[in-house]
Symmetry: D2
Subunit: 321 residues, 4 copies
């Protein structure tokens, strides 16, 4: 298959589907699915358990939970509240070392000035931070219920800071010593049909080459020394991916359609790699560094970022964690 060579996705779910399409079972990878019919929410848990699984999936060992929510962009406050609650629960599951009082640092990755990359900064904007208050006034400072210590940073992108994100975050982590990180980032999906309707939570952090803005050094337990839970929403598809997709559909059609059977016969003489190389030549070099995103991305970003910040506020500031 063409896409094995090049196509980029930040969604473990999409990697998994790729193999299912080929009817391949991947050793060391476990899949669980749940469907909430009433709310139309599909939850998929991809657990990569071995190094072999990691290698085949192209993603590190860990748990990847995906919520597919077709109505995520519909403006219904009650519905969004329910998503926030479900999300809070799932993030809570991924916190390994349970404690009575967490000290958590939330990182809003991405570029505030490029709308589809602004998920992280927008989530940080609506987050309730408490660390400074608890440090000053004690753990019941926010009212009768105890809340956790929440801090937040929007590090900015390398093109504006001159620093790799991991340098900034690492410095802050060493200084403030949180128990774990939650990193929020806009993701690149492989398919436009997932855009703005999927939320992925993973306990593996953010890896090089992920995200819209591409934060080179990973934001992971390996680089930072503490667990990193990543929350991401695919908001863009690489422009090259979309072209690739269509080309692949085309090749499939060539090989099967009545009308162009003759073409199919010709192409059978070539293997995947040859076909891929050929297609690559056709794709405009101008597509590098370009992405595809919907026109109403501003409304979508506002709504989804709010849903995520609410989830974190429920989890950490209202005592439900």
């Amino acid at each position: 298959m063409v896409e094995k060579y090049a196509i980029r996705t930040d969604l473990a779910l999409e990697e998994k589907e790729r193999f299912e399409a080929d009817n391949v079972e991947v050793q060391g990878v476990i899949l669980e699915e749940e469907y909430d019919k009433e709310r139309e929410i599909k939850m998929t848990r991809v657990m990569i358990e071995t190094e072999n699984g990691a290698k085949v999936m192209g993603k590190p060992v860990g748990t990847y939970i995906t919520l597919e929510v077709p109505n995520l962009i519909v403006p219904d406050e009650d519905y969004h509240r329910e998503i926030s609650e479900r999300l809070a629960q799932l993030v809570g599951e991924l916190i390994k070392e349970k404690k009575k009082e967490y000290d958590v640092l939330v990182i809003g990755l991405g570029n505030r000035d490029v709308t589809p990359d602004a998920l992280g900064p927008y989530v940080a904007d609506n987050l309730i931070v408490t660390r400074h208050i608890i440090k000053e006034y004690g753990k019941y400072a926010m009212g009768e219920k105890k809340v956790h210590m929440v801090s937040a940073i929007v590090p900015g992108v390398m093109g504006k800071t001159g620093m790799e994100t991991v340098e900034i975050v690492n410095g802050i982590v060493k200084e403030t010593k949180p128990d774990f990180l939650i990193a929020i980032d806009a993701l690149a999906a492989r398919s436009t049909k997932r855009l703005n309707r999927t939320i992925q939570i993973a306990d593996t952090g953010i890896h090089p080459g992920s995200g819209v803005g591409n934060n080179r050094g990973g934001i992971t337990k390996e680089t930072l020394g503490i667990p990193v839970i990543a929350i991401g929403v695919p908001t863009v598809v690489d422009a090259a991916t979309i072209v690739n997709d269509t080309m692949e559909n085309f090749l499939v059609a060539l090989e099967s359609s009545e009308m162009l059977r003759g073409v199919g016969v010709v192409l059978q003489g070539y293997n995947s790699a040859e076909k891929y190389e050929f297609i690559r030549e056709l794709i405009s070099p101008h597509l590098n560094g370009m992405f595809v995103t919907p026109k109403d991305i501003d409304d979508t970003m506002k709504r989804i970022s709010y849903t995520i910040s609410e989830a974190l506020n429920i989890l950490f500031s209202n005592g439900q964690a």
Copy 2:
């Protein structure tokens, strides 16, 4: 040729090129070109002079000036100043009825919250408006040199106002009676290679289906009763266009390449329309309402919008018009 059926471009230059590629001369359309070698600026003037020309080009009768500036996104202040001066001159050319004192309304079209659609609002942000000062204190209110009366409005997009842009602008025009309008808008190009390096100035206004945000009713002399000069920069390409493009490259390759000559033979049995229909089926329906834009669109928008607002400030507020 495939693209004749569907491909959308807001650039007259691209329409013209389409015909040149086919070696067709279009009656009623005159083309002039100039190249400023030192500054690497190419200026193209497409004059559509007859209704026949308009029909063939798919654009109304009028003058379309295009500046192609490869270094438009490079941060060199002096260079941008030169572009602003050239732009001021060309906009000045398109003002038909010369007067000593213009009363001009600048309209910043587009959506401030979607980065590649924010050109109009950003230009308005840096514009020197003078109308209220001159009305209050007289024509030398801004200093020794006389300046023109400049007003500006950012009407917002239909999804946020519930009104068509032409309704808002028409109301304001009837109330404040400017001599002419200058409408700034982000455009859709046909090719990614033009993005953020081309400025189009036209004396025909903004037409339905143009622009990123698609302002339905036209902003034209016909709808508003006064001349409308449009200044646009292509900042996006429709996602469907990019896919279409690649497919077309593919078909050309199929018909010519050594390797796939056999496929070419098969395809020769089909005409353009049939091929186009076939390709259409392959393109994801999810691509509707999607656009392609570069990742560093924030820097680009800031720089280009500043160059345009400077051009208007030179033209109207420093007495050079």
Copy 3:
């Protein structure tokens, strides 16, 4: 009393209090008060019924409803929802001509780039606009429940448009013919203790000299031909007012305090106007065009604007009007 000469307030409630302080009953002005103990909301209705009342109060004939909500800046979503509902109800009361289907234009006055003046633009950002959808798809376009036609405009301030706000609004009103307007604006209070905890609703529109940004021509039934309901929140106090206030406290203290009784005796020889003139000389001329506002104004504006836009969404988009 010193402040009779000069002090500016946009709140009818504060005008009324002034007279109460002097134990003066104003003919033609009726006052009603309600207190919601549980939610700590005080509602005051000042009805100016005669031209005499209007003259004494320095405000036009009409109804001014004030909600005093001490916890308006506290981040409690449920509480804010209740305020939104109460606000929706009160705005509904002020709509004179009841209809099954309203066509309402909401105007977000003020300057988006000066935080305490951004109330209007922020409210418009979160408003559900429906006019374009209903015009295109009919009155049940938004779902089973009928919704009203809502449109919105953020006209911008004169310093950025070169036009008076009333010119812009008048043009749009003539073109789109709404039944009535709702104008949102940040107000100047007389006392810092009201800042960001008071919402005023009035059926008299916005008058010259009101608001932070001072929209000169009024936005009223007289200037526009249709009813204008104004919703305002005091977010600033004129710097001169604060100085004046303290001076007055000082004079009162001089006249009464044990310690400075001697000074009081001296001052008794002067009347209010003389004292006021004297104080005026002491106030820095640099204070003109300056305002006082709290440091956390960003959080406050976000929260209050959201409460108001929710109120309008309840009233017009969920069929409760």
Copy 4:
């Protein structure tokens, strides 16, 4: 004098003036002045050389350079360019350890969402950062001229991060090891007449209690281990200061004016501290946390921040340092 007890200013110049008003010479403090008549720029250099001087001035030992530029808010590009060049020169003077290649971290302090506190973030927005490019491609990566390594961070305010600014900056400094810091911050002045027309550069960093947003832990060589040059512009005056000011004028008037001589006689019986206490009681407690700022603060911030970022770009990215 009343203000000795309480009045806050971030400007060394204003501290110095206080003593001059009293005709006191402060040991250990040297003052130099220059006036550029043509450009109407006044430069004052206050050098606090001893601990005694520091104690009396209430500011640490170091050099404080102030540029007073009455036309700083006038939109004249050439003029602003000249200010930028002068500023670049003065900042260059304060870099103690001269090197061929600096590695400098610029910190944009303050709150982007509160207009008069947004100076730091705005300066960072327009800064040319080079560190990542030089690290990747070497020192001539930006062209023929060598440029220094510039990185930048906008840490955000404690209310939004839950962390003290010094924690964030310290972490980053330890990780990226710059040679020195440049910290940009909006300041509080003592007098409204200095607002937005004064730039202070100091080699002493930012101290607790300084700035609009009050970054508690200092950003200094003591806390961070490397030199910190601070660039500040007074954009606000504490509300309490303004009231205090007027009161003081009043007391002076009481003691001198013909009209109120009698009052003066009474007040002579009280010492400064008593008078101050008395005034303090009169000032509204609501003024705490309030500041005074001009209505056109948005234009001002845009213009001044641009002038400062240009100065840094001249100094570090065009090889003039």
